[in-house]
């Protein structure tokens, strides 16, 4: 199976921006969409890319926080960030007001490569791993690539509204407790689907979610001989290649020379077979 060349955007300038908050909307349990006025970024963001946001008025929070670009609307000149208020940084973000201005760095990283010849783009998203796929679906819709979305959550309250995704994709939902969609893991739905469809050569998985899910999808992709691109989440201090903290172990290293990818520069999207998924 040939490795897909991923999209790099090395020549796209990284900008420090001051972005005004247009809206903050709670769309699921402790889960928010932050909409920012961003004329330049809204035009040139690619699905899978991310931005680094400085948490305002929190001098003791040192690092910026990385967020996938959830959506980019070139006409409205806005970008959306999807976040779950889990830590100090995101807790502070949810209390921001419309009109507040954020210090933002982006666009950062590479993006998903959507081949025009795909007969099906299969998204596998777990929890907040749904984040990069709204923008992704804009692209598959524009290019008429048939898309299926497998979206797993823990429970119903965590599910983001499906109307954002349903016009552009066949959507199948699962929840661990069975409160919405099928009961169980999203990877069970994926296996079921892959058993019924032919032509793996012209399909590709696009994956984002928690580590146990990624490990399972990696196994499934190998078993069904299907290509898979994954957006990884790592801890990072900078987002643009200087802290070198976001190391992702390579499956096929050059020992003693190059054994790690950098998630911020060489990722966050990787061919799943090329990396070792670790905690």
């Amino acid at each position: 199976m040939a490795v897909i060349p991923l999209n790099t955007h090395d020549h796209q300038p990284i900008r420090l921006c001051r972005s005004e908050i247009v809206s903050i909307t709670e769309i699921a349990w402790e889960t928010f969409v932050l909409r920012l006025k961003e004329p330049a970024l809204s035009q040139n963001a690619h699905p899978g890319q991310f931005v680094e946001i400085r948490v305002p008025r929190c001098a003791d929070i040192l690092w910026r926080r990385p967020f996938s670009i959830h959506d980019a609307d070139g006409e409205a000149e806005t970008i959306d960030i999807l976040f779950h208020a889990v830590g100090r940084g995101t807790e502070a973000l949810k209390h921001l007001q419309v009109g507040d201005v954020l210090d933002l760095l982006g666009p950062l990283g590479n993006s998903f490569h959507i081949d025009d010849h795909l007969t099906e783009a299969i998204i596998v998203a777990g929890g907040l791993g749904i984040a990069p796929f709204k923008l992704f679906l804009r692209k598959t819709r524009q290019r008429n690539v048939p898309t299926t979305l497998f979206y797993g959550v823990g429970k119903k309250e965590q599910l983001c509204r499906l109307d954002d995704f349903q016009p552009s994709a066949q959507v199948r939902v699962s929840s661990v407790d069975g409160s919405v969609g099928s009961r169980g893991m999203v990877t069970d739905l994926l296996i079921e689907h892959l058993r019924t469809v032919p032509d793996m050569e012209r399909k590709c998985l696009f994956v984002c979610g928690p580590t146990p899910m990624l490990r399972k999808v990696q196994e499934i992709a190998a078993q069904f001989q299907i290509k898979a691109q994954v957006s990884v989440e790592t801890i990072m201090a900078c987002g643009f290649g200087v802290c070198v903290g976001c190391a992702v172990p390579m499956r096929f290293p050059d020992p003693g020379k190059k054994e790690y990818f950098l998630a911020c520069k060489e990722g966050p999207v990787f061919n799943m077979e090329e990396i070792i998924i670790h905690d």
Binding site: P13, A237, V242, V244, G245, A247
Partner: protein, 305 residues
């Protein structure tokens, strides 16, 4: 016109704001973000003779007002550095200093000797003190005798200015500094990171893969100030201050204490515009206080009672 320039031994910088090794890549990473030619100097990420892959993750931990890192000096090696990274650095008008490390004293000498052949480098900073590199069994700046020996050996091959970066993880930083001074160092820079550690109480595992790492960021500034004070009191060569500098006030504290210049480190990660903003603020400070040159403020610490 205010003279913002500072002298570090044989080097003259257009202003005292330098960027610390390991926090600024090879400068190219910042090219879209800040006007690089406004900086006093750029210090590259560490270069070694052989390529290094670096340490396994997890490599970094965020703490209150600081961070831990254990990166392990990943780099492409000096030959690839010359091929891939140097071209951009040569295109800069600002002063470029290459940070160099070796597993042994010979490693430092070999790396510097190779760099002596190429243009566009104003000097070297010797990284004796990365706390995250285990092999060799020798931390060159934790022992005055080895620090002296390596400085002397590199001095023999280096025509360009030599800065030695010192570790604070020693009993007496000035003893090591003096050993470097006596053996040909043109300046010292201090402090490198402090050895630190963090534990995940749920898993009872160390947060860093290498267990301990280097502690940096605003939290370490008072320690850095005390070490810089000790060094400027005992040494005659210039001292370049490093350690938690994130604002113009921080810069002024170190200059008043006697540092000839400063390096911005961790702040470059989270506030990449900080270096050029601080240069502007330093300029504004000089105007406000009617200083003809910035050097008027250096080493003006008043310790009378």
């Amino acid at each position: 016109m205010i003279d913002m320039s500072v002298k570090i031994g044989p080097l003259r910088l257009q202003n005292p704001i330098m960027t610390a090794s390991g926090t600024f890549g090879y400068a190219e990473e910042f090219k879209d973000i800040i006007p690089l030619n406004q900086l006093g100097a750029v210090i590259t990420k560490t270069v070694t003779v052989e390529p290094r892959p670096g340490n396994p993750p997890r490599r970094i931990v965020e703490l209150n007002n600081g961070m831990l890192n254990s990166i392990g000096l990943p780099n492409v090696g000096v030959e690839q550095f010359i091929i891939e990274k140097l071209y951009f650095l040569q295109s800069l008008k600002t002063t470029v200093i290459v940070n160099v490390a070796g597993k042994t004293g010979d490693g430092f000498v070999e790396c510097v000797r190779r760099l002596e052949d190429v243009d566009g480098i104003a000097g070297y900073e010797l990284n004796y003190s990365c706390p995250n590199v285990k092999e060799g069994g020798l931390s060159f700046s934790s022992n005055a005798a080895t620090a002296a020996q390596v400085t002397r050996a590199v001095r023999r091959v280096a025509k360009r200015p030599l800065i030695v970066k010192l570790t604070p993880n020693v009993t007496s930083i000035s003893e090591i500094g003096l050993a470097c001074q006596e053996n040909g160092a043109d300046a010292v820079s201090a402090i490198n990171t402090l050895v630190g550690m963090a534990v995940n109480v749920k898993t009872r595992r160390p947060k860093l893969a290498t267990i301990t790492g280097g502690y940096s960021g605003p939290a370490i500034k008072p320690i850095a100030l005390a070490k810089v004070y000790e060094l400027v009191s005992k040494l005659t060569i210039p001292v370049i201050a490093i350690g938690g500098i994130a604002t113009v006030e921080d810069v002024l504290e170190f200059l008043i204490t006697g540092a000839s210049a400063v390096q911005l480190g961790t702040v470059n990660f989270y506030d990449p515009g900080a270096s050029v903003r601080i240069i502007d603020e330093l300029h504004a400070y000089c105007i406000q206080h009617q200083l003809g040159s910035l050097s008027e403020i250096i080493a003006t610490l008043n310790i009378s009672r």
